[in-house]
């Protein structure tokens, strides 16, 4: 990356793997898991969070010298809420069915702990450009987990990806279904989201033993 210095590119790349907001920092699980039954919803959710976090970090970083520290939480909440309203209205206008699937979970981006966490930990103490990169990086780290979970849940649960039947047609018994494969409807139910994330954490920590926690 020639445009970004080494330190800046670290801001983007770190949260993607070894400092991932979901699997390592344990932030932002709340609004993440419930909507990962379909890949499409996961992607839209990931993009919304990237938008809200990138811009939110910029706004907070611009305001950081003006906000009185006592009321900073309320100021942060108002900034996020305003950005989330924008996302919500755009979704309602251009992707109405999708916004019905996401339902209240778009609103819950406001209380997504990643956003508040990064505002507090980073944007309040750093310049605009670095805050922007940090926001994008963390949101992308969050989005990647969402997309991975959504990918597996949709593929194994309904045998489709983004609505396209990739494994053949279960009713006409083509593709994989011809040799007796069955969809695992259980993957679509909410508990499996937790278990899939648990397995992701397992894989990640087996590959990088430095991340293993004390019991």
């Amino acid at each position: 990356m020639a445009i970004l210095s080494k330190k800046d590119s670290k801001l983007i790349l770190d949260p993607l793997a070894d400092n991932n907001p979901i699997t390592i920092q344990v932030l932002g699980i709340c609004s993440a898991l419930a909507i990962t039954a379909e890949l499409k919803a996961s992607i839209v959710m990931a993009l919304s969070v990237v938008f809200v976090m990138g811009l939110g970090n910029v706004v907070i970083s611009l305001l950081r010298n003006v906000i009185p520290s006592k009321i900073r939480i309320i100021v942060q909440l108002v900034v996020v809420a305003a950005l989330v309203i924008v996302v919500d209205q755009v979704l309602k206008a251009y992707a109405y069915t999708l916004s019905k699937t996401l339902a209240v979970f778009v609103g819950l981006i406001i209380t997504n702990c990643i956003i508040m966490g990064r505002f507090e930990a980073f944007a309040l103490g750093n310049g605009v450009k670095r805050s922007f990169l940090d926001g994008i990086g963390n949101a992308a780290g969050y989005g990647i987990i969402l997309i991975i979970v959504g990918f597996f849940r949709e593929l194994l649960g309904s045998g489709t990806l983004l609505g396209y039947a990739v494994l053949g047609n279960p009713i006409e018994k083509t593709g994989l279904y011809a040799i007796g494969y069955e969809n695992n409807g259980f993957m679509l139910l909410s508990p499996m989201a937790l278990i899939v994330v648990g397995i992701l954490i397992w894989v990640q920590r087996s590959r990088n033993p430095a991340l293993i926690e004390e019991n």
């Binding site: 699980i29 709340c30 919500d88 406001i110 937790l194 648990g198 019991n215």
Partner: protein, 247 residues
């Protein structure tokens, strides 16, 4: 009365905030290492939910929903301010939490010492905002029901965090595979508990009670989708069997 009991048990067991909709997971995972702190946070959540959900219900009813401003005069009947609900709900929650903190500190220092440190944490807990947003999405019809919904969802959350904290205290003595230690095993246990809670799903649908009101939780929808899919599949199978038999 039946309506109240039904909503009460449904919010605790069937639509449990943690297991069915994953609300408040961040604090659920972060504060569940010890039972005593888990109880403190759980109690604070019950309290704040029982206060903010009815408040936000009033806001929704008289300010935000389509035509809610009609009480100001007929010329206001066309306004629909529901796009403002996120910002108003979160502002109500943040100020309420702050006020509750001040009042509790003034009148009951003992309660403040056990609850107080958790209150600021709660302003940004998704379970609280989620409670208000679900209240709005499910169109709960009266103030009493809104209070009931807030209280019982809080109790459901409390139960969930209490259970996971108890399990985590015990699991310290178990031999967990190293990469799963800490976060990983907690996720998997929560998943298993959620599967357990799914068995409550049939609790209110048997017998000749009032049919359960329609709702749009994702979990419910997924369940229904799966059911129809299964039915389709079995129908398909019987058709093919019949065809084979005929041959």
């Amino acid at each position: 009365m039946l309506e109240h009991t039904e909503l009460f048990f449904k919010s605790i067991f069937i639509d449990n905030m943690v297991f069915a909709t994953f609300l408040g997971m961040c604090s659920y995972l972060a504060v569940s290492k010890k039972v005593t702190t888990a109880v403190g946070l759980g109690a604070a959540v019950i309290f704040v939910l029982a206060v903010t959900v009815p408040l936000n219900w009033l806001l929704d009813q008289y300010l935000l929903r389509d035509g809610a401003l009609a009480w100001l005069g007929p010329e206001y009947a066309d306004y629909n301010l529901s796009f403002l609900s996120f910002i108003l709900f979160i502002a109500t929650i943040a100020t309420m939490v702050q006020q509750v903190e001040i009042v509790v500190e003034k009148f009951s220092p003992a309660l403040y010492n056990s609850l107080g440190i958790f209150l600021p944490l709660i302003a940004v807990n998704c379970a609280i905002l989620g409670g208000s947003l679900f209240m709005q999405a499910r169109e709960i019809s009266s103030l009493g029901l809104a209070f009931n919904y807030g209280l019982s969802s809080g109790i459901g959350w409390f139960l969930a965090i209490l259970a996971i904290a108890a399990i985590r205290e015990k699991i310290r003595y178990s031999n967990v595979p190293p990469p799963l230690r800490g976060l990983g095993i907690t996720f998997i246990i929560t998943g298993l508990m959620a599967i357990g809670f799914m068995s409550f799903g049939g609790m209110l649908t048997g017998g000749d009670e009032v049919p359960v009101a329609e709702e749009n939780t994702t979990a419910q929808k997924e369940k229904e989708e799966e059911k129809t899919k299964l039915e389709e599949e079995t129908a398909q199978n019987t058709v093919t069997y019949n065809a084979i038999e005929k041959e």
